[in-house]
Point group: C2
Chain length 346, copies 2
DNA sequence: CTGAAAGCGCTAACAG
DNA sequence: CTGTTAGCGCTTTCAG
C-alpha cells in the first residue's frame, strides 16, 4: 500500500512519543524542548511528511484559504488583481481559491455558498454586473468571516472596501478635455447597478458643472463594459447628426469600441473627436493615436485588499471597523486628446 | 452565539432522526425513503445549512478541489487557460485553487507541497522556466493523485499532457515565410529547458530542411519569453551587419520586442524584415503592421486539461494510461509578412 | 428503511 | 516537558 499519507501518529510511533507531542513540536510550541523538536523535524523531513491542512482547518473551524470571486478571470484587470492577492496571501501562508461569477448573481450566490462550505478564512469579491441586493453576503457577518469588496462594491453591505478613485479619475479626465478646449463631451457610461459606473459618471458631471458647462443627459449613453458597447454607443450618437467634441468612456474597452467606430466613419482622432478611456488597458497605448486614459493600479489594489483581509483574519476585532481604501489614479495623456510630435508607440 | 454553523446533527435533532440518516438523505442515498428526504431537504434549506466540505474531504481522504499552478496569472495566455479550467471544474462541482510559481522551481516545490497538504483531487500544472527535474511531482504518483501537465510539460514524468501543436504551428509559420520568398530566417528561441521552446525550434529547423534550406545556428538566438528578450535578440542580430529576411519569434511578446527594435532602427516591416510570432496575443493585431502569428486556443486547452483530470478523478484506473492531447494551432497571416491592401486593424 | 459505532488527522485543554 | 482525553463534521459499515 502506498497512497497512505504520513501522519503525526506515524512520526510519533517511530520516535516513541505521543502524537500530540509531535503535533506541538511541529508547530514549534514552547512546551516542547529543543532536542525533541529537532528529532521530530528531521524524521518528518525524512518521511516526507505533509501535514493535512484539511484536518487542521476542520479542527480550527477555519481554513488557511482566502476565497476570491471575480466576474471573470479572462481579463487583464482582474487577473492582475488576483496576481496581487495571491502574492500577499502566499507570503502569509495562505492559499487562494478562485471562482468566476460570469456576471450573473445566480452563479455568484453559488460561489459564495461554495466558499462558505470550504470554510474560507475570508472572502474577496468584486460583484457581478447583475448583483442588485447583497443579501447573499449576510452570511459572512453571521459567521464572522471577513469580507472585503474590491473595485465593484456592494453598497448595502457593511464591510471593508477597496476601490480605485473612480470619481477623481473621471473628474480629472473630463477636466483635461475641457482645458484642451472641448465643451461638448459625451459620456459612454457603464451599468448603473455598478458602483464604478456611478462614480465615474458623477466625476464626469461634476467636472462639467465645476466648469460651468451644462450637463445634458442626451450626451450620456448607458451601456455595458465591453468593446461592442462602445461601438454601439458611438453609432447611436452619430445617428443624431450632431457630434460631440470629445468622448469620455467608462473604461478602455468601451473607448476602443468607440475608437473603431470613429475610424470607420472616417473621422479623425483627436481633431474631430477627442477620446478618453479608463483603466490603462495594455491595448490603449497601441492604438493609433494612442489613447489618453486613467491608470488604475490593479496589482496594488489586489495587494491592499489581501492585506486588509489578512489583517482581519489575524485580528477579528478589526472586522468591526470596516476600512474604505481608495487607490489613487493617474491621468495618462496621449495623442487621442492632444496632438504631440510623438507618434504611436512603435 | 452566532457563528455556529448548522450541522447534520442540528437537522437530525430537529427532525428526531439520527445524524447519519440526515447525511444519507442529503446525499440522496437510496436507503432513505422519499418522504424523509424531502423533510430533510426542506429543513436544511430553512436553516441555511452549508455542508462542511472540509469534514467531508477529510473523511473521504480527498477534496473536491483541483489545484492549478502556473508561472504567473498576470498573463493573457495563462489567465485564459485558467478561465477554461474553472468553467469545466465548476460544471463538475469542483473548485480550483490557484498558485503562481513566478518562474522559480523553489516556489513551485512549495506550491506542490501546499496542494498535497490540501488534499487536492488533482493537479494541473504548467512548469516554471527554471524547472529542470520533475522529482517534486513524484509524490502524485505515490499518492495516486491525478496530475496533468499543460503547455509547459515535464518530460521525465509519466502523466497526461495537453499542449498546443507547437511543432506544427512553427513549421507552418516558417513554411509560410519560405513560400513568400524569404530564405534567410532567424529564430528567436525561448529557454531550452522548456518543451514549448524546443518543439517550436524543431518546427523551424524542419521547415528549413524540408525546403532544402541550410540550418545555420548563427541565426538562432536563445532568450527568454519576454518582450525585452525580443529587443535584445534583434539588437544582437543587427550588430552582426548581415540582416535576415525574416524573423520567427518563439512567441508574440518576443516578436513585439523585435518589432519595436526593428522600427527603432528605421527598418520596414515586412519589406525589409518579415516578422512572425506565436500565440495570437491580443496586442498583435494592433501593431502596425499587424503581426502574423500562430493562434493557440488557451481556453480550449484549459477545458481539455480539466476534462482529462476530472476523468481521472472519477475513474482512477484512467491514471494508468496517460493521455497526450495536442491542440491544433492556426496560422494567422497578417501584414507583417505579406502586404495586402488592408491596413492595420483600426 | 433507520441507527449505532468508529474513525479521517489534527489540536486544545488539562493532567501528570 | 510529555501524555491523556476529547472532539471538529462528516461518511462508511454493519446491525437492527
Amino acid at each position: 500500500m502506498n497512497n497512505q499519507q504520513i501522519t503525526v501518529k506515524d512520526i510519533a510511533r517511530i520516535l516513541n512519543l505521543h502524537h500530540t507531542t509531535v503535533s506541538k513540536a511541529l508547530r514549534n510550541h514552547p512546551d516542547i524542548r529543543q532536542e525533541t523538536k529537532e528529532l521530530v523535524f528531521t524524521t518528518a523531513k525524512e518521511l516526507d511528511y505533509h501535514p493535512n491542512s484539511l484536518a487542521k482547518s476542520l479542527r480550527n473551524r477555519r481554513s488557511q484559504t482566502i476565497g476570491v470571486i471575480v466576474p471573470t478571470i479572462k481579463n487583464d484587470f482582474f487577473s492582475t488583481v488576483i496576481s496581487g492577492i495571491e502574492e500577499v496571501a502566499y507570503r502569509e501562508d495562505h492559499n487562494i481559491i478562485v471562482c468566476q461569477s460570469h456576471e450573473t448573481v445566480e452563479r455568484e450566490i453559488l460561489n459564495v455558498s461554495s466558499m462558505v462550505s470550504n470554510l474560507v478564512a475570508g472572502l474577496l469579491i468584486s460583484v457581478s454586473q447583475t448583483t442588485r441586493s447583497g443579501d447573499h453576503f449576510r452570511i459572512f457577518e453571521k459567521r464572522k468571516i471577513p469580507l472585503v469588496f474590491f473595485d465593484r462594491v456592494c453598497e448595502d453591505i457593511t464591510a471593508s472596501k477597496v476601490v480605485a478613485d473612480d470619481y477623481q479619475g473621471a473628474f480629472e479626465a473630463v477636466e483635461h478635455l475641457i482645458q484642451s478646449g472641448r465643451w461638448t463631451i459625451a459620456h459612454f457610461s457603464g451599468p448603473e447597478t455598478i458602483s464604478v459606473s456611478r462614480h465615474r459618471r458623477k466625476g464626469y458631471t461634476d467636472a462639467l458643472l465645476r466648469n460651468n458647462l451644462p450637463v445634458d443627459d442626451g450626451w450620456i449613453i448607458q451601456g455595458g463594459f465591453l468593446e461592442e458597447d462602445g461601438s454601439r454607443a458611438f453609432q447611436q450618437v452619430a445617428l443624431r447628426g450632431k457630434l460631440p467634441e470629445a468622448v469620455f468612456a467608462v473604461n478602455d474597452p468601451v473607448a476602443i469600441g468607440a475608437y473603431h467606430q470613429i475610424k470607420r466613419l472616417g473621422l479623425r482622432i483627436p481633431e474631430d473627436i477627442a477620446l478618453v478611456g479608463f483603466g490603462d488597458n495594455i491595448l490603449s497605448s497601441y492604438l493609433n493615436p494612442p489613447l489618453t486614459t486613467v491608470k488604475q493600479s490593479p496589482y496594488e489594489l489586489g495587494k491592499i485588499s489581501a492585506e486588509i483581509i489578512l489583517e482581519q483574519i489575524k485580528n477579528p476585532s478589526e472586522m468591526t471597523n470596516p476600512r474604505e481604501e481608495i487607490v489613487k489614479t493617474h491621468l495618462i495623456v496621449r495623442d487621442s486628446t492632444q496632438k504631440t510630435n510623438k507618434g504611436a508607440v512603435e
